[in-house]
Subunit: 249 residues, 2 copies
Amino acid sequence: MPHHVPKIDANMRCGDCPIRKRAICAYCEEPELLQLDDIKSYKTYQAGETIVWAGEEMPLIGSVVSGVATLSRSLADGRRQMVGLLLPSDFIGRPGRKVAPYDVVAANEVMVCHFRVAKFNTLIDSTPALERRLLEMTMDELDSAREWMLLLGRKTAREKIASMLVLFARRGSEAEDKPIKDGLRFDVPLTREEMADYLGLTIETVSRQVSALKKSGVIIVEDARHIRVPDYVRLLNEASDDSDGGFIA
Amino acid sequence: MPHHVPKIDANMRCGDCPIRKRAICAYCEEPELLQLDDIKSYKTYQAGETIVWAGEEMPLIGSVVSGVATLSRSLADGRRQMVGLLLPSDFIGRPGRKVAPYDVVAANEVMVCHFRVAKFNTLIDSTPALERRLLEMTMDELDSAREWMLLLGRKTAREKIASMLVLFARRGSEAEDKPIKDGLRFDVPLTREEMADYLGLTIETVSRQVSALKKSGVIIVEDARHIRVPDYVRLLNEASDDSDGGFIA
DNA sequence: TGTCTACCTTGATCTTGATCAAGGTTTGGT
DNA sequence: ACCAAACCTTGATCAAGATCAAGGTAGACA
């Protein structure tokens, strides 16, 4: 069983929520916005199971509780690029929205995703508050996508790896409600292949760069899925995540 | 004066709109959604002029009429990646939304952008219809960003160039309300440097790949800003834009 | 009309990350 | 406990694209 999967109980109610910080939390935050159905609407997907095919409509709307869902797009010859990554507490699904052509959402990991699914029809002509919340979340997602584009277009392999690890560290600490500090330990929720798809690299390069960061002492690799960071600022520097805030004359 | 800049007349009214197809068109579509101010609210930016700095709020909301606006993000050492490209008819600005840290929106070209600016305060607590429209547009933008990510992460330099040219061809034909056909001619609204920033390449590679496509007979380069396409399908193939619609087992 | 500057092209060489290849490790099923 | 399959690592070589370098072109302006 992977990284601190919160125990889900079919009788849980808001307030018992295992994740808190982000998006709409199906457990504790703004439940009235989602007009939550009864508890039956939790859903779980197995690792590798497809949640929805390209061009179809999302079968659900809610928050990821544990595990990971990914969204990928690929070329005719099989080259694949991950274009979305949903970690615990992330919101998934948009009411009345079809998945864009050739997008694929796949469940990944011991994908223990649980959702409270609302009735779609009530959502589509739903409250202004929900509309606004969805807009807010979608704009946040767009911002993340743009950060990701910077990574894909301009970062070196080593920087890409470091940036990804920073993301995992951040989200991991958030989930556990701990501050990010030196010596932190976190899970790597993706396989090497998925990391490669995430970063626009090959698995060999991913493996090599992780090893290189290890050899430099930036990270301690306990095993392929667990990493410890002795000096968080050093990892941050490796990511070159910092930008110049500049402007164009 | 560049590519067919529509003539803007300070007394124009909806129905005289020079752009039609996409987003909210400030001229003819859904003007009531934007609660348009009077005609004074058109705005023009010079080439290279900055529309808004990182962390600030968009000074306007409306549609690009002509010219190009770009959104870029960069690393501390100056490496820059374009993360947004707004062509005529694209919607610009979100009410009450600050530009993400380190994002920059810059006017580009003989940037003849005109807008009808609505009053922000009325927009922020605006109609459900506008909220929904904004959500729709933001999701479309997210879809484009994801297509762009596939390009950045997995396409070759040649494919990147071809994909970009297809985009320009499409948008150009749309603007002129002509079908895309063989022999079409279109403007390239970016400098080589901007193309490089768009594609995650260097300007030398951009230049070389354009030359290579020319030598292969896929395109006819009239000058750096004007291209003709004898066989549109061939250009499409070069872009490898086609994807497999596949799924993950 | 000439010159300056910004922009573009092409060549030579180098580097990063891809590709090809071989083993090693972990996990899950029986 | 053993085996198979999936996953990961490392090495050797290759190639796409970056970097370094040298002109060329065209529009802006005096």
